[in-house]
Symmetry: C2
Subunit: 203 residues, 2 copies
């Protein structure tokens, strides 16, 4: 009994290692720029062994993306219609910024995909993402109608949050080249908090 190894254990361990290695390589080089060799080496496996777990490079990439998209929308979903409007928005900004700090590779994986025209996730953009954004834009507009936040274009407001927060992950190398030693994540939260307070608080 003790001698019979549970194959599921090894499989789970290897699959996790592969996905982590693939995230590292795909986010740094894009789909075409990444090679199966690099991913296998980063995962500590031989190339054929890696392809034993995932049948193709494409399959690894798909698995990664589908895992990412599954949680990518959670921060926006968490924006609560019952909460205090300005605080809900500021909390969303904070969450997105924390994701850029803690999961920059995921952000860059996504960015690589979008910049190149979203060939693999256009469906996600036009279905799940659009539906959620439409819902939350309507919520933002209702808050504006009630005079609880200043009136701005709700879709551009959401785009602004994405771009301002994801910039610190996607353009990390540029930000750090300019800030030299300073950690952008030390000072960005206060900047963004102030920005959205000023934008959304009626004068």
């Amino acid at each position: 009994m003790t001698k019979t190894r549970r194959p599921t254990r090894i499989q789970a361990r290897n699959r996790a290692a592969i996905l982590d290695a693939a995230l590292e390589v795909f986010s740094a080089h894009g789909f075409r720029g990444a090679t199966v060799d690099q991913i296998a080496a980063a995962a500590g496996l031989s190339k054929p062994n890696l392809l034993y777990y995932y049948p193709s490079k494409e399959a690894i990439h798909e698995a990664l993306l589908s895992r990412l998209l599954d949680t990518w929308l959670d921060p926006l979903r968490a924006m609560d219609p019952a909460g205090e409007p300005l605080e809900e928005i500021l909390a969303y900004v904070r969450r997105k910024l924390e994701m850029s700090r803690d999961y920059p590779r995921e952000s860059r994986l996504f960015a690589n995909e979008i910049v190149q025209g979203a060939p693999r996730i256009l469906g996600f953009l036009t279905s799940d993402l659009k539906a959620l954004v439409d819902e939350k834009a309507a919520l933002l507009e209702s808050w504006m109608d009630e005079g609880r936040i200043a009136r701005v274009h709700p879709y551009h407001l959401i785009f602004s949050i994405w771009s301002l927060t994801q910039h610190y992950a996607d353009f990390d190398v540029q930000v750090r080249a300019i800030l030299d030693g300073d950690d952008p994540f030390e000072t960005a939260p206060a900047f963004l908090d102030n920005l959205y307070r000023r934008l959304l608080t009626s004068a």
Copy 2:
């Protein structure tokens, strides 16, 4: 005399066609994702003929990037110390947004490079770009010291302008997937103008 073709003419024409085709292909697929075949086809040349003008794929990419970087900083350079602070900043935002609208491929070429760690232009970031940003950040701070605009982190202010404007070029496919038929460049200028007025006008 009339029979002797000026080779410079043809060369200039073909070189221009190659760079335009390369911009199209590199910006859409990244350096590794682009193939010499694709570029040659887009330029209307055979692959060997293309390589007659540029010795390698790398050389084409370098020529493109160096041409881009040469003008990439112009809008920021144009921010005039002698001008009215808020208007100078708003004009910079407008210029950057117009560049995203009129030259999205250039923006995506740059974005592809940065997202993947800027392997080819790290030197530019830490020298030319950093020097200019340092200079303009000092200018912004002097305006804040004089009380002519609200006090915010000057570097994050510049990052915010980059991210908010370039987002409409780099993430164009996502923006349009969500806005459906609406043209983002119709409504973005007013949104950004309002945003920076509220941020920088003292309460």
